[in-house]
Subunit: 501 residues, 4 copies
């Protein structure tokens, strides 16, 4: 594209970064906002630290103080490295702040400029507003073309900037009304936190694909967060989820609730339960950890196998492996040890190190594995590259048999709702059956949990309602609840959602 | 103002920085552009290095390559530190590039954010454009309010961004036409270099207050630059000055010239000759060095004094001191030695060092000065703080008498055309007569060159034409050729220009 | 002390660094060396990365190349951040290299200068030698005084520099003989890797307190390493442990073995099995992971309790918790979740963050814990501060009961053999009985494994042989196998070792 | 050599750095010390800043405080960048400090490690001492071999470390006596500042080749400095020069003077007057500026030429050009303008920039030069590379004639006394006559001042006393007053000094 990119602010993508592993799906973002405390930005920094797993590439905070106006800081790298010093935090005074951690999905991928880092800020006729979102606006390119045609100048290549421009051009008098105007034009899956000089605003799209929760600190302070684990870190009390399609506007006097979208049956993202959310979060009333353990239980029922050990692929496979062990009675063991000193910064490796691949972050517990029949429990298989390397490590260490059990159904379709997925043809499950994948990976057995099994684990005893699915499971089913307008314009053919009853 | 400022990108102002000395006037910017060479950005970097005296705070380059589109790099600090590495320069490929060095005037002063660093870039319906300017748009705030009211979102607090937004909203089809549309709305003193994907554009305001010259490299490559010294560094040939009120549009086929403004009698800035331009530049057909030497000659005629030595205040007083010595026959000598290792980076001094003040960068040649009657030649007196310290140093070293000769008339009025001046009341000459200043500085004599003497030195044998002055000399005369609209709105009372014949 | 410390090279100690947690014992060092490969330094970097848990403060590598001589690089921070770029690794050419990771014990603690970072290098009359060690020389101060008195000038405040000076002053002709000369003077617990221009040397003290293993890559390359996990990362084959009291000298022709010390019955460190070594290492023929799981089994037998869940304190309590669950039949669960984004660099926290304490790195899985009777398995209790915070988190989350089970006996005595322990009075177990500690921590029960139970877990079915203990367990028993000379000089009273049979 | 060099601490040499221009001779060092003030290190920082022209590569300060002992900071780069922040200066408390700026001569040239940066520190039996020196120890390699053979371990590759080791091995009781012991063993040209916990020590070699002056602040504080300009910056009063062969020991009670060397007739370096010292310093009772102006006067007498302009090659040729103009009556003019933004940090230039060579820092004042007969006055010709480029620039600008006048005699011999000179064959004057050099440089005339003329300018009306020269002028005459022992061992044949009367 023809947008200029800051030569200096490129971020090095890296194959040895355990958190940018290209054989995982990546959540693009976490959002967090606080109103009513002294030095809100400090709370936001803590909240973002707890949400770091939702985006490690960059983070930003905007704060507002009655005397010092809006101030922002946006940086590449971890929250812990950027938003902890007095020097930075003192520049973000005030009782109201929002923040964002991002993993790039839209924007110049792998090559994000600092100006693509949220929150975005715009000055309008009646005052400024900042906005951050988690998700994806599926008609962002169409909107962008229209806005540029009318003379708007974009600062970034991010889809969320559209909302700011739509707000700037609204004829409404106040910012919440302008946001409603803007929201009526955007399509997609998104959770928004926004702020004016006096208000904290939260929005969840009509289907509630992406999560957003409301919390309270003491009497008069309020919090919006992608997950409950970020309420815990600041000692906030969980109040409720923001409802699908709801817009909450919070100021000193309390909360107002609006429903700016046409009502639809909610379909929140089921992959949040499988992988994205932290195990200590509570999502849709379910403990994420317990759901994952239960997936292991279901897997053990659906796909039992005679073996000596159940080992998680660290760390995301651990809860399901515990469940599998408990249901099957096969002992749980740490067969693979993760090097906890791997990190973002293992940059520019020598060729020799690059070729060592997965051993840098994982090592086999050789004494344990030798001669054993091993069940490996992993959360998902995307491209299959990591699974293959792990299998080789296990066999090199002398395992007698290797059985993979996967805590999600085959990932066969890309996500267009704010999750970074490879193109369809790169998804192993898009072109191979389970047995073909097993042969490809050269393991003794490979089984994925069924879609119904997964639904049972998240608390739907009857499994998936095929006529009106309870969750967005497009990555497994190809059933896309929101038409991916921009992608269609580029020729993507998607499997149309069955009409809801 | 309520614009958010990046917490991280503040630039430390510093009293010991010889180049940010608050007792000098500061040119805000230098501009440079090249079309038709391989790796134009390298040429721009060299040009900006030669123009560094026009702005040390920050610099930026935008380049365009047919395959790689627009790319930019903008940094705080010197060109030599930012735009010399392969790593940076390789990100700026292509045959067309423009650049900018800045000393902040508008924008958050002393506290510039990187987003205020030019060139600015905007994507329009028919393609992108980048723009950089030297000068000041005197109705920028008015335009900004209007544009925000219509839904434009500003990225920066710089006045030049208005031009980009006006262009974005123009109904013209091509960018040169859009720029003409935009230029008709802006008032002020400015020299612009801009670029589209295929064209290099130069504009000088109707009065030609700020300089802009055209150069050529070999057959097919063209250069625009604030000064000729930046043509020399890349071996370019000087072709001509861009005319006051002219807009040149250069592409592979040559140069087109337009006159988008109403014609007016030119009045270029006379202070460029006194201080801003480099002595090795040629300005309005005059050698800057020779003009300054001639000022010294005029001064010696206007204000002779019996003394032993003529010493320049380094380094800007040197040419006038040479001229004074030659005219008066009093020997020229280096009475004050400048420490060449002072620099931008002498940050965060201890209190003790702070109190040592001017000695850090200047030292008296004690053995030379002792017992002598010394004439000190300086380029200007702004607040008078430096003059006072220098006088003390010279007397401490045992001088018998100290006589100041100043190579410009008293600076009594602020500049609104792109030069950083203190508020009027801080200008020593705004409240004191020459004799009062002498008494204030406690020197044996103090004389400024007359306005007519200055005009003679720049090549007007009859001196200043009071009914229709040949130059903009508002800082000396209070005669402002362009109405400072925004400042008037804030209550500034200026002395109206006499109607030109 | 009066040694000058580089003002610039101080390392910030930090309470939120999970790896510098002052409620753990810290291994001071890991050592690694390779001979016979191309670019040995790359192998050393990988080995040190695998040994990073043994020291996170700093690391260093010295390499030798026949044409380029000795070269070194020593840095604060992680291996992954310092020894992975081409720029650094290319400066360390050659087929022979040694390296070191350190956690400061001696030297200016918390305030290490880069010159205290090993390996140390000295040029002798017949050529240079570099040396690195893990452990502690208990008569280092006495030796230092003597050497200074004779005119040696110390570069560092590290005890290992004594060995280099003793070697420099030896009258022996070759370096291995000089090292033997030097070793006869030093007392303590240490594993050394050293190198000359052509030889890789390994030494283990007479008791074999600190570990050192020998590995092989292909036919002609050899490796020395603190642990076997660092052989795995480079694909080296485990050959054997270096024997207590053995000195191996390796060159192109193979390995020579010497026994420079008076023979003694070995007593390797039992705490390596409990905490220091990585679970995927094999130590004294035992799988570290399996030993720790077995400690959990023993604990469940020695100290059973009726409860709902067995939860590890992450991550070091995990293997013992698995064993406890398996032996007791009480389900294993992840009750405490560790934030994997904590790290070294969470520097300079705001006061607010500092007060949040342990929550930054640990969060309770609230949905799981509520109403449950929870057994928490941790590896050790040092000061008790962390245990107390964890107990509070668990109770805040609504646990019905909290039972601590500790995978080591009470740590009642400081270690003088290369492990960073607090002063005796800061060790909770030095002043309290088990029941007093339980009351202090305000938990429902607290039980440590017995010393005999620990010996059984490490493979001594009859437990500890009180007349001639099989391991060094001074931190539990106060039975110090090597007289801590320097500490005695400072007044430390230690419990003398019972005479071995 | 086989000494390990820190991979990280290499300093990039750079052809575009005006201060590392390889066509100049370079002074290796400046030294400075203070006793008796609060926070002596701040004074040392200021003094080193004023001495920065004597060494830009690196600087170091050691301070001593009764409570905090010795502390040091040593850094690459400018004083202004390293020794001005509170953070650094607060780590250097105490009333006694010494410092050093260096340009590498010995040590790994162009590749200095931080451990080669002075002052050096050593801990002896009776306390520590720090030492810094300017000059060169001509038998350093011989001493080093001897000391290593006896078991000393060197930290650096610098010759001054020998003195510390000789002191450490002395049997004398106090440090001044140990230093005398050490000084008796070293040969060469050196000015030393050293410190113990309570004493500031200054030493000048027997011939007084390198300068060292004594100053006083108020009543009880004393200063040692390479030049008087560094007394001025801190407001210290000049007391006297340290005498050739003198050792001064200063403490709270005053100054003791010793003469540890065999008496010899002094021969201080004449090149200090020509180039090394700052023009505002007073050296041997002479104003350096006035001496240089007088050299110009002598040159105009010895080598007159008919021309239009006298132009200095900036900046070092300026005083002589002024003198030449005054004596000849030919107008002085700034024909060459120096870009004051060149600096250390113009690193890693693109190939294109590299080829532009000297234009980056110098530009011709074209309007002035065109058609003129120009006399260029430069301080010296070393390799002749710069002279040639300057000549080309001047001719390109249209000069009618170019005449070079050089303010020193032909530099035909290398310096072994602390000045960085190329090997003999690289010195233009070692192989060519004056006329051959003129032809080589292709200029209309080229004349050097005669050795006698130079002596007259420094105040010897009868010129050089050939039987017993008043100065060290070995670089011009090949008459080396101290036998360069190490260089002889390497085969250098030098012209023996004529026996003094």
């Amino acid at each position: 594209m023809s947008h200029p990119t800051g030569a200096d602010d490129r971020f090095p993508a890296h194959p040895f970064d355990p958190f940018s592993d290209d054989d995982k799906l990546h959540e693009e973002c976490g959002v967090f906002g606080v109103i009513g405390v002294t030095d809100a930005a400090n709370f936001v920094a803590l909240g973002l630290h707890a949400l770091q797993h939702r985006g490690q590439e960059a983070g930003g905070i905007v704060a507002h103080h009655p005397d010092h106006g809006f101030n922002s800081a946006r940086r590449f790298g971890y929250v812990r490295d950027n938003f902890t010093s007095h020097k930075v935090m003192e520049t973000l005074p005030g009782p109201l702040a929002i923040g964002h951690v991002r993993y790039s999905t839209t924007g110049s991928k792998g090559n994000t400029a600092i100006r693509d880092v949220q929150p975005f800020f715009g000055e309008f006729a009646m005052g400024g507003a900042a906005i951050a979102h988690n998700g994806n606006i599926v008609n962002a390119e169409e909107l962008r073309r229209e806005l540029i045609g009318r003379g708007s100048i974009f600062q970034s290549s991010s889809d969320s900037e559209c909302i700011i421009h739509l707000m700037a051009r609204s004829y409404q008098k106040n910012i919440p009304e302008r946001m409603k105007d803007a929201l009526r034009r955007v399509e997609g899956a998104f959770s928004i936190v926004a702020m004016t000089r006096t208000k904290l605003i939260g929005v969840r799209d009509a289907l509630g694909v992406r999560p957003l929760v409301l919390g309270r600190i003491g009497d008069g302070a309020w919090v919006l967060s992608s997950e409950t684990c970020a309420l815990d870190i600041i000692g906030a009390e969980f109040v409720r989820e923001v409802e699908p399609g709801e817009m909450v506007v919070i100021n000193g006097d309390g909360i107002e609730s609006y429903m700016p979208f046409e009502p639809r049956k909610p379909r929140s993202c089921i992959f949040e339960h499988v992988y994205f959310s932290r195990p200590d979060s509570i999502l849709g009333g379910q403990s994420v950890y317990e759901t994952r353990r239960q997936i292991g239980v279901e897997l053990a029922r659906e796909a039992p196998v005679d073996a000596d050990l159940v080992c998680p692929v660290p760390d995301s496979g651990t809860p399901a492996a515990i469940g599998f062990s408990q249901e099957s009675g096969i002992p749980y063991a740490m067969g693979i040890i993760r090097n906890q000193y791997m990190g973002r910064t293992f940059i520019e490796p020598t060729e020799q190190i690059r070729n060592m691949g997965v051993r840098l972050k994982l090592n086999v517990n050789r004494a344990l594995i030798r001669g054993k029949r091993v069940i490996l429990v992993d959360d998902s298989v995307v491209r299959g590259t990591t699974s293959r390397k792990i299998k080789e490590m296990i066999l090199d260490a002398g395992a007698a048999e290797v059985h993979f059990r996967i805590a999600s159904p085959p990932t066969a379709w890309p996500c267009f709702y704010g999750v970074d997925t490879p193109e369809r043809e790169k998804l192993l499950a898009s072109t191979m059956s389970e047995e073909e994948m097993r042969a490809h990976l050269q393991v003794d057995s490979l089984r994925f949990i069924s879609l119904d099994g997964l639904y049972r684990a998240v608390g739907e005893p009857k499994g998936r309602d095929a006529r009106s699915p309870q969750y967005c499971d497009a990555c497994f089913s190809g059933d896309y609840p929101v038409r991916p307008t921009d992608m269609e314009a580029k020729g993507f053919e998607f499997r149309q959602q069955e009409p809801a009853e």
